[in-house]
């Protein structure tokens, strides 16, 4: 009880708030990945999930280990890897669209036409 009053009087944003925000973002991505049938929207869902992970890295590093910066660099490298992954995935989608005239996962069922 005393702890919570002290925490409230210091008036900073608790760590759980950041984690809750990234939770909502992550599970919106999970829902989109399960429901949507266009590969572009599935990629958008994956980006949401990656972004939530980045936010978690940064927030946990800032709150638990403010004297180090491991989470900061993890988030930095994750952003770069996400950019690579998006570029290659979109190249694959454009190639699939050229061959199959569609980017829905239902129609992409053959590897070679």
């Amino acid at each position: 009880m005393g702890e919570s009053i002290l925490t409230a009087s210091q008036a900073y944003i608790p760590l759980e708030a950041y984690i809750l925000v990234s939770l909502i973002m992550f599970f919106a991505g999970v829902y989109g990945f399960l429901v949507r049938r266009s590969v572009l929207l599935m990629l958008i869902s994956v980006e949401l999930m990656l972004n939530a992970a980045d936010l978690n890295f940064a927030a946990i590093n800032r709150y638990l280990y403010p004297e180090h910066s491991e989470g900061f660099f993890f988030a930095l490298f994750t952003i770069a890897i996400a950019a690579c992954e998006t570029a290659v995935a979109i190249a694959i989608f454009i190639n699939a669209y050229r061959n199959l005239q569609s980017v829905k996962v239902n129609s992409i069922s053959t590897l070679k036409e």
């Binding site: 760590l15 759980e16 429901v35 660099f73 290659v88």
Partner: protein
Amino acid sequence: MAQQVVFIILSLVIAFFSVMAVNSKHVIRSTVYLLFVFLATAGLYLLLGYYYLFGVQVAVYAGGIMILFIFAIFLTNKPIDYETTKLPVSKIIAALTAVGGIALSAHVVYYNIRRVATLGPIADLNPQQLGHVMLGTEKYNYLLAFETLSVLLLACVVGAITVARKR
């Protein structure tokens, strides 16, 4: 107090637009909602005190990846391309999965994290130190990851060109 108000605004923007991004009928609208989510996340980095991460998020995510998405949508979709309606059963199952996951994880986080978290003073991370940490070979330095990432970027450039070019 001002920080809390800014945080509440940014988190509401993130929650609303990330749900809208996966529920919108038009692909291009989902992309624009995703852009808002990325910018609000960059605002959260600013609030945490990581200014470099804010710059990278705006430049790479909100700049580069969004342009890639918009080009891909214009290249692969008809002008008005609605998503075909799906069975509502799978939608309900996915929504239950997401809500159940949020509830379970929030329960775990609420009962385990609130004891250990304190907001200490931030380590000073100016651009000079950042460069030394990225290109140093001592403990807690990241030269190997940095160089591996540069090889990965080169491989991605070559791979993307090879896959997407006309035969």
